[in-house]
Amino acid sequence: MKEKIFQMINTEAFPTPFCPGCGHGILMGAVLRAIAELEYDMKQMLFVSGIGCAAWIPSPHFKADTLHTLHGRAIAYATGAKLYNPKLKVVVISGDGDLSAIGGNHLIHAARRDMDMTVICANNAIYGMTGGQVASTTPLGSITTTTPKGNQEPPFDLCKLVEGAGATYVARQSVAAPIPLTRILKKAISHRGFAFVEVLSPCPTHFGRRNAFRTAYDMIQSLKNSCISTEKIRGMSPEELLGKITVGQLVDKGTEGGRS
């Protein structure tokens, strides 16, 4: 496996520019493992990203065609490439801010169109690259540089948002659970039509530091504790569910392949 993965990356681009313990690195590994397990040919794949730390996951690390676009625009760029060359397997990997704040409109429209592509949103609940400002995914009460007294704005439930927009595959998982994550990524990448995966991916540098997480591992641990799978959730009481995050597959509609 590891060898296969090494053939899928530009080793000269390593070590990555990510901070120590950044969840995006873990997600990078999971995406590579998923593709390796699917035995997809990297030469037929196109990875598109916006701007942000997460946008660096594929570019320049993946040895495949990569398109590192503008902040918020990854999906719109991907749409053009996919429509013109439907043979490309298109995977968008970008940050929560990129895809759901500035890029929210392209996200919901691609979901509506059932564009044949996979969108992986590395959600660290913060703007990592610009130094830790509040995001549209930051939990209520969290401290960020632009919410020094705690965030007062309700965050998106990204999965509900894209479901409401019409996505045919929707799932959520955290990097703390790399095996289920890889499994879900495989399903999403092989889905025909618009697949969206929200991946909870800690930013120790900007989120952790300001919100009482001592180490990167603390954040991993906290994710492990708060994530509950869709299967386990059944039969749990509201009290038990307080503060929990549902992970797993949330929507999986048959589709004839989506728009391409």
Partner: protein, 83 residues
């Protein structure tokens, strides 16, 4: 012997080789904390980039669960069975 157990046995038998890329490791210590077998320790050496990477001090305890490899954000760990 059922297949599953057979595999388990085999697993246990084989020695495990743990390679850590000292240039890629950033000393986040996720591996160190996630490993139930306490295979890793911080190295005292400072890497080029100023990090203290980890070293696998007890590879013999490793159960090949791969948690460390999968959770390493820097693709810096390679846990391989020998042979």
């Amino acid at each position: 012997m059922p297949d599953k157990e057979k595999k388990k046995k085999e697993k246990a038998k084989k020695a495990v080789n743990i390679h850590i890329n000292q240039k890629w490791c950033k000393g986040c210590y996720i591996c160190l904390e996630v490993c139930l077998k306490k295979v890793f320790e911080k190295s005292l050496e400072v890497s080029e980039k100023g990090f203290n990477p980890v070293v696998a001090v007890h590879p013999e305890l490793c159960t090949h669960c791969l948690q460390c490899e999968m959770l390493c954000p820097d693709l810096a760990i390679n846990v391989e069975k020998e042979g």
